[in-house]
């Protein structure tokens, strides 16, 4: 995923005050971090704010990164995950009032989740249907508990291996696998329930 020596050199240059090195790090990792934040937080605005916070924290603590202890991407993902958990705790009260009928994000068409399921009787355009399915899955992902959500995001959306996820989440690999399994199963149940309502 990353050349350890190249990233270590980039980090050293960045600590020395090389602005170009820092820009290269931002260019390389902003997409990944934004996607994790977006899938976890659910909204584009929150994801944008959280991504900026992640990079600010990274910039402040860059000197604490040790390439011997682990890959830079794992370190970055750990920072991201910790900030996401903090964000979740802060907005916990808001989330308790959510339901499947609320709008999950501005990427959707401002309709309840059940109304976003396409009508099978009318065959829609493939691209539109694909987009709608993605939005439905995204909304369902937001309904998972944070422990399950972060596990499936890191595994199925970020393609991290179990050992890296265990490092990020600070839990054993077995727990990681268990959370991933339960997360996937819970997501499937949510989506089946949604489709059953539409059908």
């Amino acid at each position: 995923m990353e050349d350890v020596q190249v990233v270590a050199m980039l980090v050293r240059r960045c600590i020395a005050g090389d602005a170009a090195a820092w820009e290269e790090i931002v260019q390389t990792y902003n997409r990944r971090i934004y996607n994790i934040c977006y899938r976890f937080a659910g909204s584009s605005d929150d994801a944008q704010d959280l991504t900026q916070e992640v990079f600010i924290k990274m910039y402040r603590t860059l000197s604490s990164y040790d390439h011997i202890k682990g890959a830079f991407v794992t370190w970055v993902t750990t920072i991201t995950r910790n900030l996401l958990v903090d964000h979740f705790r802060k907005t916990k009260q808001d989330r308790m009032t959510d339901s499947m009928d609320t709008t999950a994000s501005e990427h959707e068409d401002a309709q309840p989740l059940s109304e976003q399921i396409p009508d099978p009787s009318a065959p829609p355009d493939t691209r539109v249907r694909q987009r709608e399915v993605s939005e439905t899955v995204h909304a369902a992902l937001g309904k998972l508990s944070p422990e399950l959500r972060e596990a499936v995001i890191l595994r199925d959306l970020q393609d991290m291996d179990y050992r890296e996820i265990a490092t990020v989440l600070r839990v054993p690999e077995g727990t990681v696998k268990s959370r991933i399994n339960r997360g996937r199963a819970e997501l499937a149940r949510l989506l089946q329930r949604t489709y059953r309502q539409v059908m």
Partner: protein
């Protein structure tokens, strides 16, 4: 998850192998035992199906594109944070500025900035143009300026010379001359002859002030009223003009 044993595999073991099975890394006897447990266990069978379906759903989620200004915002926020932090940690010593630079920065640069404005430049150009035209009409040549002596005596001499020339010029203006003459005529007609000064008393003889006695006290302007009549010569060009006679009192010093 219930801890049941089915086909020699516990549900916990099944759960730990589920991820590997979905990833396709499970093979051989372990895979056979896993599939047998899934078929026989009422809890783990549906779990495998749901996990497989959930994984499939998640694969449909594609990466979203970050906002276009995200990188710019990140760089701005991190750069700002860093500079602020550095300023707090180690204040930068300001380089010493000489008084000449301060004057230049506080006085000359604002003036120069004002001068560079188009309207001021236009006004300056017009003023220069008017001055050069005025000097040209007055007959002032730049070459004459080189011969001007700047010694104090020469400057004083030039000043009095110029003053006398101006006075002569003004006095010789015909209109001024006529007005002055008319005023003097009116004054002479209106004002009677001035009485002479009181004669000094005889007590002067007893003056002990050691001042020399003034022997000659003739003041022709006060005692003798010698009128000198001045009249303009009647040249051919002045025949049609009224003759103005001017009477002046002259003081002989």
């Amino acid at each position: 998850m219930p801890d049941q044993t089915s086909n020699g595999m516990k549900c916990n073991e099944f759960d730990s192998l589920l991820s590997d099975a979905l990833d396709g890394v499970l093979s051989g006897a372990a895979l056979d035992r896993f599939q047998a447990h899934a078929r026989s266990c009422k809890a783990c069978g549906p779990l495998l199906a749901e996990a497989e379906a959930g994984r499939s759903w998640l694969k449909d989620l594609t990466e979203v594109e970050p906002p276009a200004n995200l990188v710019t915002n990140i760089l701005a926020s991190t750069t700002g944070v860093d500079s602020q932090r550095l300023r707090i940690a180690a204040p930068v010593r300001q380089p010493r500025i000489s008084w000449l630079d301060r004057v230049q920065a506080s006085v000359l640069e604002p003036i120069w900035a004002m001068v560079r404005q188009p309207r001021f430049a236009m006004s300056f150009g017009m003023a220069f143009f008017a001055l050069s035209v005025g000097l040209t009409v007055a007959g002032v040549k730049p070459a004459d300026l080189r011969e001007v002596s700047l010694r104090p005596a020469a400057i004083r001499h030039a000043y009095y010379n110029t003053q006398a020339r101006v006075i002569r010029y003004v006095d010789n203006v015909r209109a001024v001359y006529e007005v002055q003459a008319a005023l003097r005529g009116i004054k002479r007609n209106v004002t009677p002859a001035e009485p002479g000064p009181a004669k000094p008393s005889k007590e002067r003889k007893n003056d002990t002030s050691q001042q020399p006695e003034q022997k000659q006290e003739r003041n022709y302007s006060q005692t003798g009223e010698q009128l000198i009549l001045a009249s303009a010569p009647l040249g051919p060009s002045f025949r049609d003009l009224p003759v103005v006679s001017v009477t002046t009192y002259r003081r002989f010093v």
